[in-house]
């Protein structure tokens, strides 16, 4: 097993060298940083799916939350917003939200004063409706006012690493709520519910212009490490400055990755990991042994989502732009599922291997398809069939097909992944 993983990782290293040779070092270096961030996210999914057997198809939503968090924390302060009535109006909206929430909670407790059955139901629905109306009546003018006067709320100007951590915290908070709602459901329902929730998050982030500037996008988001421009100001030439800057960023991401990997491997090797495997393989017998299945599943769902939030935040920091309309279920949720399944669910190194491999395949299938189509088109033009029209846009669709083909082939011929889970049997 060890030999097989080492061979595969060595092969991956050679692949990176080959890509570096053909596509140039600047291209490859930025792909490597992204691959490191995707490894974190794939590890998050591996915890949820490989360890816990939980079906999370809402990865895109958690990544978006990370992006929003890092934008809010690390973007420079917007004095126009803080000097206007905006904070006061937002505060009122928050109070309205709290009042609405209290109303709903009160309605849900109404059985204590003797309101039961259908009446309680009606009262709860009414409370939701009133709470929603009260909140809307405050947030709508506040949003319109901020968008008209200050653009958006801006950031806090803090260090981006704090933003990454906040991305994890935010994702954890949302994952807790989502988990509370959905984790009792059977697998198919859980998949659909999490997709639905990630779409709700996407719609909110895209349209809450006062908070995220929506489709107008926010840039430039600062880096935690010095930018290439900073190195250049110190008298370096452009190429070296770019590489040192990206090297610094990659190093920081790798440190976070190493910490996460260490903690997870330690936890999984211990009693906690054995309990998780027991719950995944047979939750009924685990429950009969006195394990609190729902609480443990909620725990693992939150842990996985933290990594997804941090990974999403790192990606946004790296590209320096938060563009909510660039998030697509195919590019974010499904891509990461392919990474984990191809790499090997239940094995962290497998997930990491899958993440780097699939990310590279995803990136290079575009130029490869261009090359292939160019050749075919040249050939078909020569024998008189005419050339293929608009190769550029067609070839870039090829990678969606490649992704689908990879996942179906992997399920058929290597259902446990390239580096499968190692089940240790004691005694």
């Amino acid at each position: 097993m060890i030999r097989r993983s080492l061979t595969l990782f060595a092969g991956l290293f050679v692949l990176i060298l080959v890509i570096g040779w053909f596509m140039g070092v600047p291209f490859t270096s930025s792909r490597l940083v992204e691959a490191a961030a995707y490894s974190l996210i794939a590890m998050g999914l591996n915890i949820q799916w490989g360890y816990g057997g939980l079906f999370n198809f809402g990865i895109m939503g958690f990544m978006m939350l990370g992006g929003v968090a890092v934008t809010f924390i690390s973007y420079p302060v917007n004095p126009q917003f803080w000097g206007s009535d905006g904070p006061w109006m937002l505060g009122r909206a928050l109070i309205a939200f709290g009042a609405g929430a209290l109303l709903v909670i009160a309605a849900r407790q109404s059985h204590r004063i003797g309101i039961r059955g259908g009446w309680k139901m009606a009262l709860t629905v009414l409370a939701w409706f009133i709470g929603y109306c009260v909140y809307r009546s405050q947030i709508d003018p506040a949003a319109a006012y901020i968008e008209a006067n200050a653009g958006f709320v801006g950031g806090l100007g803090a260090h981006p690493v704090l933003g990454w951590l906040f991305g994890g915290v935010l994702a954890a908070g949302v994952a807790y709520i989502v988990g509370k709602i959905c984790l009792g459901l059977r697998t198919d329902y859980l998949a659909i519910a999490t997709i639905g929730i990630s779409e709700i998050i996407r719609a909110l982030v895209k349209n809450m212009d006062w908070l995220t500037r929506g489709t107008l996008t926010v840039s430039p988001i600062p880096w935690p490490t010095p930018l290439p421009q900073d190195y250049q100001a110190g008298g370096m030439d452009a190429q070296t400055a770019l590489l040192s800057a990206r090297g610094g960023f990659l190093l920081l991401v790798l440190v976070i990755f190493a910490v996460a990997m260490f903690l997870i491997s330690r936890a999984y090797a211990g009693p906690w990991g054995r309990m998780m495997r027991a719950i995944r393989d047979n939750h009924i017998s685990a429950a009969s042994m006195g394990k609190n299945v729902t609480a443990r599943q909620l725990e693992i769902f939150v842990f996985g989502s933290v990594l997804m939030g941090i990974g999403g935040a790192i990606l946004v920091s790296f590209v320096q732009i938060n563009d909510p309309s660039s998030y697509q279920p195919i590019n974010h949720t499904f891509l990461i599922w392919v990474m984990v399944i191809v790499g090997g669910a239940g094995n962290n190194w497998g997930a990491v291997f899958g993440a780097v491999l699939i990310w590279l395949v995803w990136i290079i299938s575009d130029p490869l398809a261009q090359l292939l189509f160019g050749t075919i088109s040249h050939w078909s033009g020569q024998i008189g069939w005419g050339e293929i029209p608009d190769i550029q846009s067609r070839a870039s669709q090829m990678r969606i097909f490649v992704l689908g083909a990879v996942i179906t082939i992997a399920l058929r011929f290597a259902p446990r992944g390239l580096i499968p889970e190692v089940v240790r049997r004691e005694g």
Partner: protein
């Protein structure tokens, strides 16, 4: 009266059209879930693929000089549905049947169906590009405007020809499906297998045949839904990919495995979406004359802003999963 006509134009017609499309898609999903016990994500691609097949057939017929009083999309619909059924059977043979034979868990089939979605999606975009097409490039889209001034309305009742045909065709398909499921031997076998697959098998039902028939029905209905959606709006590669979640919501709200539940769920979600974004102040405007000064209605009074239209379906889905996970009609429960 003007307000009522406005309401009918904006909510009743739009909701019925959207609801029929959701219902047709949801029937297929719910049947597949009932028989094969997995959530079939690639249903969206059966819809889009079917719509593209109908589009190609329609262009072919138009090139041959075929003329018809109804839009070409409806003329070729039966033929496209046959192709859609064959397409669905082929996908099952190529991708799901080998996994089923190996005894894979439903979860594996679900992931495989996502792979199939991506593959078909990629192929469609490869051949047709990412632009949009219209069935009405060579023929006009008839719009009927019924004058309602006799009833005291200043607005006409507006409905397009495809919309009328769509509602009629959906009704026919649903009634035909009802008779198939309740009267024919095969339909009864299907319901029996959905209730208890093992029991159905030992009582001599040919389960392989039932599986095939399920795919045929699901593929044909998906092709129909996709074509009609493309006739109502435009044909593009992510036509159905964007509405697969509301369709799943419809199937779950109706109770997975219940064909009638899927119809009810589809209409419910369709109407809920249109009602939620409907601007009530247009209908309630007459009240402004009676209401006091401080309680005048604002210009826009919709329950949710238009850009959140699709989220309505998810909210309904989440609420259903919380309150009644088995759906309206008791479906396959957790």
């Amino acid at each position: 009266m003007t307000e009522l006509i406005f309401f009918i134009n904006q909510v009743v017609i739009a909701g019925a059209v959207l609801g029929s499309i959701y219902a047709l898609g949801a029937i297929g999903i719910t049947l597949i879930f009932g028989i094969l016990r997995f959530a079939h994500f690639a249903h969206s691609e059966l819809m889009t693929g079917g719509a593209f097949m109908a589009f190609l057939l329609a262009s072919l017929f138009a090139a041959w000089g075929v003329h018809a009083p109804i839009p070409m999309g409806f003329v070729v619909l039966p033929l496209a549905m046959v192709l859609g059924a064959i397409f669905a059977l082929g996908i099952d043979k190529g991708f799901y049947a080998p996994l089923r034979k190996r005894g894979a868990k439903p979860v594996t089939l679900l992931i495989a169906s996502i792979g199939v979605t991506l593959m078909i999606q990629g192929l469609i975009r490869l051949f047709f590009g990412s632009g949009s097409y219209s069935f009405f490039e060579n023929e006009p889209k008839d719009v009927f405007r019924f004058d309602m001034s006799a009833l005291g309305s200043t607005r006409p009742l507006v409905i397009t020809e495809p919309q009328i045909l769509m509602i009629v065709v959906t009704a026919i398909a649903v009634i035909a499906l009802h008779f198939f499921l309740t009267r024919s031997r095969l339909g009864k076998a299907m319901r029996a297998m959905a209730d208890n697959a093992d029991l159905a098998q030992v009582s001599g039902i040919n389960t392989a045949l039932v599986v095939r028939v399920t795919w045929i029905i699901a593929g044909a209905l998906a092709c129909m839904a996709g074509t009609m959606l493309a006739l109502d709006v435009t044909l593009k590669p992510d036509l159905a990919f964007n509405i697969i979640l509301p369709i799943f919501a419809a199937a779950i709200v109706g109770g997975l495995g219940q064909a009638y539940g899927a119809i009810a769920g589809g209409l419910l979600i369709g109407f809920a979406e249109t009602l939620a974004v409907f601007n009530w102040s247009m209908v309630l405007k007459p009240l402004n004359t009676v209401l006091p000064e401080w309680l005048q209605l604002p210009q826009t009074l919709a329950l949710v802003p238009t850009e959140y239209k699709l989220t309505v379906a998810f909210v309904i889905l989440v609420v259903t999963l919380l309150v009644r996970p088995t759906g309206i009609f008791k479906g396959a429960s957790s």
